[in-house]
């Protein structure tokens, strides 16, 4: 039992369900299928981004440029699709978005891996460069006439339900993409040498190098993969919004990082799980979306999110402190 309690994920799970029960007790409408579907939908994009951030954080770095990459990929993909392949399919859109993201991610990679610079600072530079480039040279106008294939995808769903008032609620098929990314990241971290390398790098870079890992290759993978996921998430965002607004997405980076850390990933590296990350994402989405349901005015949202960040990180910091005391 003591061991279980020391596991961050276990504690967060319990707190999560306590909060769910509390919200449900205040307003039973919380448990309606419609609300649960909308919570799941809100988890998709943040979840995909968070899983990429998880890998970066495990490797001992922080990247904040992923939202700029995501917005850039979203906007340029729509432009390219409209100009060159207006009849192009969904797969093509995701391929273009993913590729743009991957290329932009490789810029981060070349600075972090090639010049051994801290990713936080590098990504500060790349995020303003990428966003500035898009807004200054590519465009600032919202694109409203997305390709038909994207609009069609925004309407597709895997589950449909008619609630008591006769309103039809659906669960978008894009949730499959979150599930797919989850499985891929989980597999990489758990069963591949690459995943071991990522954890090792976050634990102790010097030993990792001496143990024979190719640190450069691992870092190239981390930032390119982060870029790729950002691109995919960006295209998905335009699908959900049914438009491509270049001012969207940027500004959410800190809440995504907070979700990952809430899920138990150590900001100093070497620790973090896929389960915890999804839990963290579910937690922040739950809080953001449920304040209104329980009658808290929406302008309290920031205070509550801030408190959650402080309390959860304080809990994890204090637990680590006490764990150290027990050892010594």
């Amino acid at each position: 039992m003591k061991k279980l309690l020391q596991q961050h994920e276990f504690v967060v799970t319990i707190v999560f369900f306590l909060v769910v029960i509390l919200i449900g007790a205040i307003n039973p409408a919380f448990f309606s299928i419609g609300n649960i579907f909308s919570l799941l939908k809100s988890m998709i994009i943040r979840g995909i981004l968070a899983l990429g951030v998880l890998i970066v954080i495990i490797s001992g770095n922080v990247d904040i440029s992923f939202t700029a990459i995501s917005a850039f990929a979203m906007y340029t993909t729509s432009k390219i699709m409209l100009a060159l392949f207006p009849e192009g399919g969904l797969l093509l859109a995701f391929a273009i978005g993913g590729l743009i993201g991957l290329l932009l991610g490789s810029i981060n990679a070349s600075f972090v891996a090639g010049m051994k610079l801290p990713a936080l600072i590098v990504s500060l530079g790349t995020s303003s460069a990428i966003r500035g480039f898009m807004l200054a040279f590519i465009g600032v106008k919202i694109i409203n006439n997305l390709p038909a294939s994207l609009i069609a995808y925004s309407r597709s769903y895997i589950a449909k339900f008619t609630d008591a008032s006769g309103k039809i609620v659906t669960l978008p098929s894009a949730i499959i993409m979150l599930i797919a990314v989850t499985i891929i990241v989980w597999f990489i971290l758990r069963y591949t040498m690459l995943g071991r390398g990522v954890y090792a790098l976050g634990g102790d870079p010097v030993s990792t190098e001496r143990a024979g890992f190719n640190i450069k290759a691992i870092q190239y993978f981390i930032y390119c993969f982060m870029g790729f996921l950002s691109g995919i998430a960006g295209v998905l965002h335009s699908v959900f919004m049914r438009n491509a607004n270049p001012f969207d997405i940027v500004g959410t980076e800190l809440i995504v990082i907070a979700s990952v850390v809430l899920g138990g990933a150590s900001i100093t590296g070497g620790k973090g799980t896929v389960y915890g990350t999804l839990l963290g994402v579910a937690f922040t989405v739950l809080i953001e979306n449920s304040l209104i349901i329980i009658g808290v005015p929406s302008y309290w949202q920031k205070v509550v999110i801030g408190l959650i960040i402080v309390v959860s990180t304080a809990a994890s910091a204090l637990r680590e402190k006490f764990a150290k005391l027990e050892i010594s």
Binding site: K116, G125, F137, K302, G306, A317, L318
Partner: protein, 336 residues
């Protein structure tokens, strides 16, 4: 970094070289902008308007530097500044009677300034407590407090701006002493105080030591926790000073003003030679960096470049400088 291994004298020389290099960059940027905007950039009017503009970011960057010297970061600076401004705003626009006499207004302004500084101090102490005593990584602790402070500010103001400050208060942001704009003098005062605090006081030396090697600092008997508390409190006070200047210049306070300043301040600090891992950085380097960025954005503004093009250039600038530093360090290493 390599610098840590250099002995005293060589370390100073290395620091001098990077400051010289920065100065060179600032001068080059200045000349290019003057050439690109003939008859507009190199005017008293422009220089004066730049002297009004840069102090806000400058003071915020000084605060950021203090946090980064210890190896931390403070994402809550702008939120602290806004919180302080809003409290000032409530005092000066709601609490103060409409028909207050002149000397009464002065009293209220003094009271508001004091409250603002205290707000900064308390917020900074909270950050310091969370980081030093609870042990939360600085980036997360200050992210949390920034959300809380912005949140409270939104709750207080319902998201609206607080306008209508008294004339006397606005003088802080919009008038001159002799030929010097007051915001510039405020920045200068902050910079000079910090310069002596960092270079000459035991607090400064210990702060650098903590950033260089926290373990060694603990074992050499430095009270790391108390120094960290003090440094974040200092950052908080600087944030509230920036808030005062910002409010006095714009004649209004709002929960989400200047949120882009946070990342810009990190950018300025890194450009100015502050090592994000801690232990390195100087007031002089930072001042030159903030000036060169001001030249850049003022110049671009005159060329009618969009703000986004400026954002793009800032990012490229940061990457470029880091690249140059990297290749230079590499050359020094291989020549040894």
């Amino acid at each position: 970094m390599d610098g840590k291994l250099l002995s005293g004298k060589r370390r100073y020389m290395a620091a001098d070289r990077s400051i010289l290099q920065l100065l060179l960059i600032a001068i080059v940027v200045f000349i290019i902008m003057a050439l690109l905007n003939p008859g507009k950039f190199l005017t008293l009017l422009n220089i004066e308007s730049m002297a009004y503009q840069f102090p806000e970011l400058g003071i915020i960057s000084l605060g950021m530097m203090i946090a980064m010297l210890s190896g931390g970061i403070d994402l809550s600076i702008v939120s602290i500044a806004n919180m302080a401004s809003i409290l000032m705003g409530l005092i000066l626009t709601k609490m103060m009677p409409q028909n207050a006499a002149n000397n009464q207004i002065v009293l209220f302004v003094a009271f508001a300034l004091l409250i603002s500084l205290i707000t900064g101090l308390i917020s900074g102490l909270i950050n310091g407590f969370l980081i030093a005593h609870v042990g939360i990584p600085a980036i997360l602790a200050t992210l949390g407090t920034s959300q809380i402070l912005t949140g409270i500010a939104i709750v207080i103001t319902k998201g609206y701006a607080v306008p209508g400050f008294p004339e006397i208060f606005l003088k802080i942001g919009n008038s001159k002493l002799f030929i010097f704009p007051i915001p510039f003098l405020v920045f200068l005062a902050c910079a000079i105080v910090l310069f002596f605090l960092l270079q000459k006081s035991s607090f400064g030396i210990r702060l650098y030591l903590i950033g260089t090697n926290i373990k060694a600092s603990v074992f050499s008997g430095i009270k790391v926790k108390s120094i960290l508390m003090k440094s974040y409190a200092l950052t908080g006070v600087l944030a509230s000073i920036a808030g005062i200047v910002m409010t006095a210049r714009t004649n209004s306070a709002k929960a989400d003003y200047g949120s882009s300043y946070v990342l810009q301040a990190v950018l300025v600090a890194v450009l100015g030679g502050v090592n994000p891992a801690g232990g390195f950085g100087s007031v002089i380097g930072l001042s030159i960096a903030v000036l060169s960025l001001q030249f850049l954005s003022s110049g671009f503004n005159m060329l009618r470049f969009s703000n986004f093009a400026t954002e793009f250039t800032w990012g490229m600038f940061l990457l470029l400088i880091m690249g140059i530093n990297y290749f230079q360090n590499k050359r020094i290493k291989s020549s040894k």
